[in-house]
Subunit: 119 residues, 2 copies
DNA sequence: TAAACATATGAACAGTTGTTCAAATGTTGA
DNA sequence: TCAACATTTGAACAACTGTTCATATGTTTA
């Protein structure tokens, strides 16, 4: 009996195989951490709102603040998080900074999440 | 000038159009909240690990605890969250409870998240 | 029924998160 | 250079989250 076949709920004949598969297919710790960090970014309705606006247009910070009826500071903090995750990019034009989507995965992830919730 | 065209960063000629689009396409508050709640569930590496195991097989709680080297209680708490979000389903067989994926969106969302992080 | 096993649950704790407020930075035009 | 505007940043605070520990619930078998 292999080391990892510790007795557990009387199904331990499958443990060795399971553990083998898990070790082979499980992403490494850094990847798992990065994925969790990414999904945390989607886990806030303010940020989802921002993304929905950016689905339609490239907009400046004060436009976002106004459209979402929130302070410019709160929006700016959230944009920083979205930018750090490389979900949005920014471009300065004079006094204003315009934000837009940086990535096509955003739409897919949001769409799948919405589909799941709608069921 | 429409009520919502408040002056803002000298681009207010586009505000009316933007606000119109946003009102039309933005999901309602409940939907946004539910979507954020769903993504929060993906925003924890323990839960992502659990999902990766369930990609491969239907497993019982103690198998998960063993494969992830965590306490049975911690796993059970996380399974409850995954079940509440309808990402996993469970089936009792004697003393054991077996968990499996409940939904095909899970794979897509995880895959897209991983792709984004890998870039 | 009692003992052993598998799982679920509630309280508690440290750690994290989103907003607000005040202040700093960066940009333009007078 | 100065004033006005747009944005960013840091500290602070309440609210939330994941794990642990102790205990409860559910199931099987002796």
């Amino acid at each position: 009996m292999a080391i990892n076949d510790v007795e557990c709920c009387d199904t331990f004949q499958t443990h060795e195989e399971l553990l083998k598969i898990v070790r082979a297919k499980m992403p490494d710790e850094d990847m798992l951490y990065d994925m969790a960090e990414l999904f945390k970014v989607f886990g806030d309705s303010t940020r989802i709102r921002i993304l929905y606006i950016l689905f339609e247009a490239e907009v400046c910070v004060c436009d976002l603040a106004q459209a979402l009826n929130m302070t410019q500071s709160a929006i700016s903090h959230q944009l920083k998080i979205l930018k750090q995750s490389k979900l949005v990019k920014s471009r300065r034009e004079g006094k204003s900074v315009f934000y837009s989507l940086a990535d096509s995965h955003v739409r897919t992830i949001i769409a799948q999440g919405r589909e799941h919730v709608e069921e």
